[in-house]
């Protein structure tokens, strides 16, 4: 049972209009294992994790989640199944406050009828302040608009949210972009801590040092195909740089 991969990807293809972005990807993600996903720009990393998180539909191929074949119709399905994602782009609503952004789609409610109810704004403010402090970010107030934050502050809020809502699987697409030194360390610490919590993770980064530091296994992609899939202990920085 514990040997069965939590996510199994078989023969995954993705066609954008005129671009064959994934060309038959086969991958297994195991419980309690953090996979570092590396690859050239445009290799298809984001495409792969977008499919896993339900934001895009595969053109062909199958995904098994906990052994069952799944077909996510949207991010909501994937989140329901327990996949939490930090996207490379597009993860914040700039016209809304930090506190609201933290909880979009998962608002704490004072009471509700049929899923719709009154927001518990106090709890939202308190928890978001806490979550942001947890990533060492200094923000003025949870009521500031995300659109008025600096690049790194915005990324920090996205990280804080994902850390707050830990889930069965964590996917992080270049989470340390825009982040300052301290915050980057926090994020790397978080990724490492996933293993202790038994949460499998997929960590995309162009910084091979970071990837080697945090992952158990490294998967390298190039032009829509997996070109290397080894445990960190079985490979070396040079081998990875070589295939890229």
């Amino acid at each position: 049972m514990s040997n069965e991969p939590i996510i199994r990807v078989r023969n995954l293809h993705k066609w954008y209009s005129g671009v064959h972005a994934l060309k038959g990807v086969d991958l297994d993600f195991h419980r309690g294992e953090t996979v570092g996903l590396v690859g050239d720009n445009g290799a298809g990393k984001s495409t792969l994790i977008n499919i896993l998180s339900g934001t895009q539909a595969p053109t062909e191929g199958e995904i098994f989640f906990e052994g069952k074949k799944v077909r996510f119709k949207g991010p909501a399905d994937a989140m329901e199944a327990g996949i939490e994602t930090i996207y490379q782009y597009n993860s914040m609503v700039p016209t809304m406050s930090i506190a609201r952004n933290m909880f979009i789609g998962r608002e704490p409610l004072k009471w509700s009828v049929g899923g719709i109810g009154i927001l518990d704004t106090k709890k939202m403010a308190a928890e978001s302040v806490q979550a942001i402090a947890d990533v060492d970010l200094h923000l003025r107030s949870p009521d500031a608009l995300v659109g008025e934050l600096s690049g790194g502050q915005r990324q920090g809020v996205a990280i804080a949210r994902a850390m707050h809502f830990k889930s069965k699987v964590m996917i992080l697409d270049e989470p340390t972009n825009h982040l300052a030194v301290k915050e980057t360390q926090k994020v790397l610490g978080f990724v490492k801590s996933l293993k202790e919590l038994g949460i499998p993770g997929i960590f995309i980064s162009h910084n091979i040092h970071h990837v080697m530091e945090c992952s158990d296994r490294i998967v390298a992609m190039a032009r829509g195909e997996v070109v290397l899939d080894k445990r960190v202990d079985d490979t070396s920085m040079d081998e990875i740089l070589d295939v890229l």
């Binding site: 949207g74 809304m96 789609g105 719709i116």
Partner: protein
């Protein structure tokens, strides 16, 4: 003090309030005191709830990032459906319910077509503007039926209430609904979803919000309010003309924008939409009292509308440049 000023002036709807007060003073003077007379206020307060309700719905939908040009037609269709069934002998409640269901259905169709085929709601609802108006004419058979006297509970919808008969029941309905929608938008998770959907659709989607359903719901609320507003008007005036509500769509959008709602979605408040609608009504009324000649009427109306928005933008900019750390 500075801080207080700043925070308040930054709210777009409060710039609208300021302009409203200014206009009130001007019109009061120009009309020789008639503008604020009880009878005139009574007149304004008769029509206001109806257009403001439409503005409330349109504002909500615009915050959600969509448009509805068909509100004017629904405004006519709902009461027509009600009147025709009333004339056919139905009791009030089922007839009224039927009317509102028709409105909901129009909203549903608008919403489903828009999100299902991913086409601009501008087009869906422009088509619906024609379709709903056409159905209104068809079911009326061309000749508007009279609303049989006593066929509907006047006391519940249009009777005068309050001190000096200043208000109508419709005003109370409007206030209740406005408060409700305001709370829905600002205090519930649904409201959060609406803002997120209109603010940045890809983010809202990737956060697992059922954006399609949120949009359809907003379309339906918008249509429902327009239909209800139309019914109020018809009950007040006693007869459903198939032509009522023509041009209402642009007026409602203008009200929302004057009140600070962004055409691109995500930004705005219900209160702002109401202020916008009130401004439009007040300008209209004040111009009549100022005896502006027919040919010039539209010019002043147009100029004042633009001026309202310019003032609004200017005040906000001023407020922003006040140097106070708000701790935000």
């Amino acid at each position: 003090m500075k801080r207080f000023l700043k925070i308040y002036l930054e709210k777009p709807e409060l710039a609208g309030v300021a302009f409203l007060l200014l206009l009130t003073v001007v019109f009061q003077a120009r009309s020789g005191g008639v503008f604020l007379s009880a009878a005139n206020l009574q007149g304004i307060l008769g029509l206001l709830p109806e257009v403001a309700l439409v503005a409330v719905g349109v504002t909500l939908l615009m915050i959600c990032g969509e448009f509805d040009l068909s509100v004017g037609s629904v405004f006519a269709l709902t009461p027509m459906a009600m009147a025709v069934t009333l004339e056919a002998g139905w009791p009030f409640l089922p007839a009224f319910a039927l009317g509102l269901c028709v409105a909901l259905l129009v909203g549903l169709v608008n919403g489903v077509l828009t999100v299902r085929f991913a086409i601009p709601s501008f087009i869906t609802t422009l088509g619906m503007l024609f379709v709903a108006r056409s159905i209104t004419v068809v079911i009326s058979g061309g000749f508007p039926p009279l609303l049989p006297n006593g066929a509907f509970p006047k006391w519940l919808f249009v009777a005068y209430v309050g001190p000096g008969d200043m208000f109508r029941m419709s005003f109370l309905w409007f206030v209740a609904i406005a408060v409700l929608v305001t709370l829905l938008l600002s205090r519930t998770n649904f409201g959060n979803w609406v803002r997120a959907t209109g603010g940045f659709l890809p983010a809202a989607e990737s956060m697992g919000i059922p954006t399609k359903r949120v949009k359809v719901a907003c379309f339906m609320i918008c249509s429902l309010l327009a239909g209800f507003a139309g019914s109020l008007q018809v009950m007040r005036l006693g007869a459903p003309l198939p032509s009522i509500g023509e041009g209402l769509e642009l007026q409602a959008v203008a009200a929302a924008v004057i009140g600070g709602t962004a055409l691109t979605g995500g930004i705005g408040t219900i209160f702002g939409g109401i202020i916008g609608a009130t401004l439009i009504r007040v300008i209209d009324n004040g111009l009549v009292l100022s005896q502006v000649d027919a040919n010039w009427f539209k010019m002043v109306l147009g100029a004042l509308t633009v001026f309202a928005v310019i003032l609004n933008a200017w005040l906000r900019r001023k407020a922003k440049s006040i140097k106070v750390e708000t701790g935000k």
